[in-house]
Subunit: 267 residues, 2 copies
DNA sequence: CGAACCCTTGACAGAAATCAACTAAGGTGG
DNA sequence: CCACCTTAGTTGATTTCTGTCAAGGGTTCG
């Protein structure tokens, strides 16, 4: 069991493995996924779960490995990325509080994506076996799993639509407007991730993103390091043609539905 | 309720609306989605469902519309496509027997994709309301929904990985090898769909697909109209670098996991 | 028979990746 | 505190990939 080996190694090397702290349980409990579950079942899951701090840039799991644990990001930020033939791409970035690799755990098969921390992160890991037992036993939890998976699926459909229907300039413009919308139409915000990572998520190279940002400076965007400011919303909107069927509805302010974490407003 | 309006119109214009036929129930029942459901619940669903024949090229539903029905393709072939800003792309093609727009029905929200028949098709439509009631009541059905959604999600993740990590030549080569693998490593097969549709699914223009096929003729592929024959598997494999984490495991021979229907072997 | 429509091919334009060089910022260790 | 190193980001030059436009061949279907 590679998963358990890993745990033990980490335990000795960093003394990071603990039971889930009482103080973090309520936050996890508030997740839509666990909210409606019977208390006894939730407690059982928490008792068999591990909780651990990880340093930045650490690989949590690799694509192709058997799915042993459902992961919950309690603190920090985790990149989900895919690799093939020496290339790699960012599929999503998940922040607190949300889960990842749920589908792989359910199907009891290999992860399709790798995960690594972007910053110091606290991760709760629920053994896949116990997870599967839980929703077989608890109908309310099963319902929550259904809703979660349906949302994840739709999120990935939107990601694919975005890639297939828009070019990179349009994708960037749409991303900017989306982040603004999530901050109540704020005129500016700070990028939630490095530009290179944003580029990868949007399906382009860092060089291309850099140039595309420069292009957009004549179309209503001002770039100041990590800070982006919308100077002409109409122009950007004309370019991006925002569409809730791709970008997600503005009412959905949850991070779960967004491929990248929500930015912080500025200006 | 646009959905019911549509039904009534169709009823009068084509006399196509019927209760689900007794003879087609067993086929539907055999679907992983319905297989484990309690018989009484299955019968209830079938009693409230519509069953209808559609001519080719007919729009079954449009993206953005509220999800009123889970659709089951009993016969024929249906394209799921996405539109934006005057462009459109094929996201998947589903053949018998499988379902589509399950996620939208669960979330009780708008379809993310449009659907139209590619050939004369027989479609069973289960009202979303009854569907949701069913898996709230039937834990075994809920489990099946979970497994189905998890599979759909992973399928879309693979589609996105394919788009982001491979160029169009690699995608085509991988597609060819995948179809061959699904037919027991058959050297040749007939394309299950028109080339223009394959092009759209693979994220390229018809012209580009045409040229790429020509390119591959010097890399182990022979193209004869709708018939493709592998002449040098090693060369194609070197190009495509098939990967179960993108192309799907060879053991999964179900159509549900494939973005396009399975081809028929020849030669 | 004509009208679509699919497919192909050619010529061209545009988009995006690659390669290379350079700057700036942040962290490390002396 | 500073020299050094690493890394993100930018910019330019170039190549490669892909889309667009246009035209023609072949097929199907009314």
């Amino acid at each position: 069991m590679p998963g358990h080996d890993m745990i033990i190694i980490k335990y000795h090397s960093e003394a990071g493995v603990r039971f889930v702290r009482e103080q973090e349980k309520p936050d996890i409990r508030r997740l839509p996924l666990f909210r409606d579950m019977a208390t006894a079942n939730f407690e059982t899951l928490m008792q068999v779960a591990y909780s651990q701090n990880f340093p930045p840039q650490l690989d949590l799991l690799r694509q192709g490995e058997p799915a042993d644990f459902l992961h919950i990001v309690v603190e920090g930020m985790v990149e989900l990325r895919a690799e093939w033939g020496g290339r790699e791409t960012t599929m999503a970035v998940v922040g607190p509080i949300s889960t990842f690799v749920l589908a792989a755990c359910i199907k009891d098969t290999a992860y399709l994506m790798s995960a690594r921390t972007l910053e110091k992160s606290r991760i709760v890991m629920v053994p896949a076996v116990d997870l599967r037992a839980a929703f077989r036993r608890d109908p309310d939890f099963a319902m929550a799993v259904i809703v979660d998976l349906a949302g994840s699926y739709r999120s990935m459909v939107r990601h694919a639509k975005n890639l297939k229907l828009r070019n990179s300039r349009e994708r960037l413009a749409a991303f900017v407007l989306r982040q603004s919308a999530l901050n109540g139409q704020a005129p500016g915000f700070v990028l939630p991730v490095e530009k290179r990572l944003l580029a990868s998520y949007l399906g382009m190279t860092p060089e291309n993103l850099s140039r595309t940002m420069r292009q957009l400076e004549s179309e209503g965007l001002k770039v100041d390091g990590q800070r982006l400011i919308i100077t002409d919303r109409a122009a950007l909107t004309a370019l991006a043609q925002p569409d809730p069927l791709i970008d997600g509805p503005d009412t959905e302010l949850t991070a779960e539905e967004l491929g990248l974490p929500r930015a912080n407003a500025v200006g």
